[in-house]
């Protein structure tokens, strides 16, 4: 098979089309009301970006950079708040996809096939959905995915002073955005252990000191309120129920949540801690979408497991030219997966695992590529082709599901704007702002679920909670 255009260019075009369609979907979704409107109103009241940044110091959330971004975008929007926040969301998606493709080694036709498969895994994964459906008003998890992928890129690039500086800035930006920002440190350290030479040991030491200081301040000086609604087996528990049943602090529930978070990446179950398959089975109806999610993830995880097992053996660099890159990516994936799960100890939420989900797609690339280039017999080639056809088809359905989730999200948010008129801010400026946003949100036509065929909700993935 000959590919006239550069293989990487072909994959980049495909990624661009995916981002384009997601971007269109995002623009159709009105701004979120819950967990978002208050932040927009506060951005309107804030005297400046620095004031917004410092307002987060000492708070439970402590996400100063995120709040400053919200304010900056609000100021830059000149009244076009919807467009400003959505444009930033789309820009972050573009950055994530660009870094993801940059992380893939695309040289041949087989690489292109494996890359397309990996793109499907990236977008179709349940950890990805939260990156597009949540916008409060800026998605807080997507920057972490971007920064983790950037850290991985820096780690494997040739060493230079600016790489050290960029790594430090990446970590600081991530930690000031969200607690999961420490995953950047995990990516840098794991990348170094796996043989990456981009970031010097001295820089890594400095970065580690920054992380220790951050964690010390975050865990000891700032107020912590980490309990949230979370799933447990087939149930969904409120914070009070979790405390009542499992007690305060570290408990059996914490262990369950960590394991559930790992499982959600590898097997698409549980969802936000709840085993939705079990819940559906108890209700007597398991829709096809659950089998699609489970089967695609299990088959992909098995492929990854086979490649990991082969890599753990005595594979020579001569027999496998990209052995070191593969091992490095598998190692970083393991580290990010474990660290993300630990970060989720308090409550399970798929989107917290989104950086691990991106790394999962990355190792899925290596796994598929490994299967493709190692086929030696006709029978094996047919068997591998059948497995890949089924798995890739299931992932393709999951990619389309993301658009379906956005459609239903648009309907839900549209409805939220209709009923919020009784909760307007007291100040005239805030009132004017909210009424303007409401009028804009309501003027956007959204698709009523009645027009969507009944089978779509059974086949395409949905927003479970």
């Amino acid at each position: 098979m000959t590919i006239a255009a550069s293989p990487r260019f072909c994959v980049a075009i495909c990624a661009l089309l995916i981002v384009g369609s997601l971007g269109y979907g995002l623009l159709q979704v009105p701004l979120q009301v819950n967990d978002s409107l208050q932040k927009i109103v506060e951005a309107g009241r804030s005297p400046g970006v620095w004031a917004s940044f410092t307002s987060e110091i000492g708070t439970t959330d402590f996400r100063p950079l995120w709040v400053a971004e919200i304010k900056l975008l609000f100021d830059l929007s000149h009244g076009h708040v919807h467009i400003a926040y959505k444009a930033f969301h789309i820009a972050l998606l573009l950055a994530a996809f660009a870094l993801f493709i940059a992380a893939l080694r695309i040289e041949t036709g087989a690489d292109v096939a494996a890359s397309l498969f990996a793109l499907s895994v990236l977008v179709g994964s349940n950890t990805f959905t939260g990156l597009v459906k949540e916008a409060t008003p800026v998605n807080v998890y997507l920057p972490i995915v971007v920064l983790v992928l950037l850290a991985m890129r820096l780690s494997r690039s040739p060493h230079a002073w600016w790489v050290d500086a960029a790594a430090a800035l990446t970590l600081i930006a991530a930690c000031l955005t969200l607690e999961s920002g420490v995953l950047v440190w995990v990516a840098l350290v794991a990348g170094r252990v796996a043989g990456g030479r981009g970031v010097s040991d001295r820089a890594l030491l400095c970065i580690t000191v920054v992380v220790v200081v951050y964690l010390t301040v975050r865990l000891t000086l700032l107020p912590l309120d980490t309990q949230n609604t979370s799933g447990y087996l087939a149930e969904r528990l409120e914070p009070e129920q979790i405390r009542e049943r499992f007690g305060e602090g570290f408990s059996r529930f914490s262990i369950y949540t960590v394991l559930a978070s790992i499982s959600s990446v590898l097997f698409s179950e549980p969802r936000d801690g709840t085993v939705v398959l079990l819940r559906a089975w108890k209700a007597g109806d398991i829709p096809p979408r659950m089998w699609i999610s489970l089967a695609s993830s299990v088959m992909t995880t098995v492929l990854i497991g086979v490649t990991a097992w082969r890599l753990s053996g005595s594979v020579t660099a001569a027999a496998e030219p990209h052995r070191d890159d593969m091992r490095a990516d598998f190692f970083v994936f393991g580290a990010i997966l474990a660290a993300s799960a630990v970060v989720s100890f308090s409550y399970a939420k798929d989107v917290i695992m989104s950086a691990a989900g991106a790394c999962y797609a990355l190792v899925a690339f290596w796994a598929v590529r490994d299967q493709l280039i190692r086929v030696r017999r006709v029978g094996a080639a047919v068997a591998v082709a059948a497995v890949l056809l089924i798995t890739s088809s299931l992932w393709a359905v999951r990619v389309i599901s993301v658009q379906h989730v956005l459609r239903t999200q648009a309907f839900a948010f549209h409805n939220d704007w209709a009923t919020m008129r009784d909760h307007l801010p007291d100040d005239p400026a805030g009132r004017r702002l909210v009424l303007g946003l409401r009028a804009e949100a309501l003027s956007k036509p959204v698709i009523n679920p009645w027009f969507i065929p009944r089978w779509a909700d059974r086949v395409f993935d949905i927003d479970y909670f």
Partner: protein
């Protein structure tokens, strides 16, 4: 790429390309200014929006000038009737939240209209809808039996 690799590579790539093709169709339609089919719904009357728990559309239509007390056509497979007021549609579809929204957005009920809605709510046996309708009972409305 070796000949043996081609078949599995094509099998891995084709479904992914179909998904990309779907995305390209959505994106392409948007770029050329039309609503992609996947994102197309259809216009709803106020009564249909009320029956289909479309609070956003209810608010949008009323704020665009639709009469919340008027009678509107309904598509055959939404409710058992083909014309209804938004309040009748909301009650028949068991949507107490839409009843509340309509009342907040300017719908009014006189004694006979309230009694009609109250009886429909009792007929369908939805306690939350009965409660929502009863909250707007006009002082002049009689509380006689619905069997009359």
């Amino acid at each position: 790429m070796g000949r043996l690799t081609t078949l599995p590579a094509v099998c891995a790539a084709i479904p992914a390309l179909v998904a990309v093709g779907f995305c390209a169709a959505v994106f392409g339609a948007a770029v050329f200014g039309s609503t992609p089919t996947f994102w197309q719904g259809g216009p709803l009357t106020l009564a249909e929006a009320a029956a289909l728990r479309d609070q956003g559309e209810v608010a949008r239509l009323i704020e665009a000038g639709a009469d919340p007390n008027g009678e509107y056509a309904l598509r055959p497979d939404i409710l058992a009737v083909n014309r209804a007021t938004p309040l009748e549609a909301a009650v028949a579809a068991r949507r107490p939240e839409i009843v509340n929204l309509l009342m907040r957005e300017g719908a009014t009920v006189d004694g006979p209209a309230w009694r009609h809605l109250h009886c429909v709510a009792i007929d369908i046996g939805a306690a939350d809808v009965i409660q929502a309708v009863d909250a707007y009972r006009p002082e002049t409305a009689s509380a006689g039996s619905c069997t009359q």
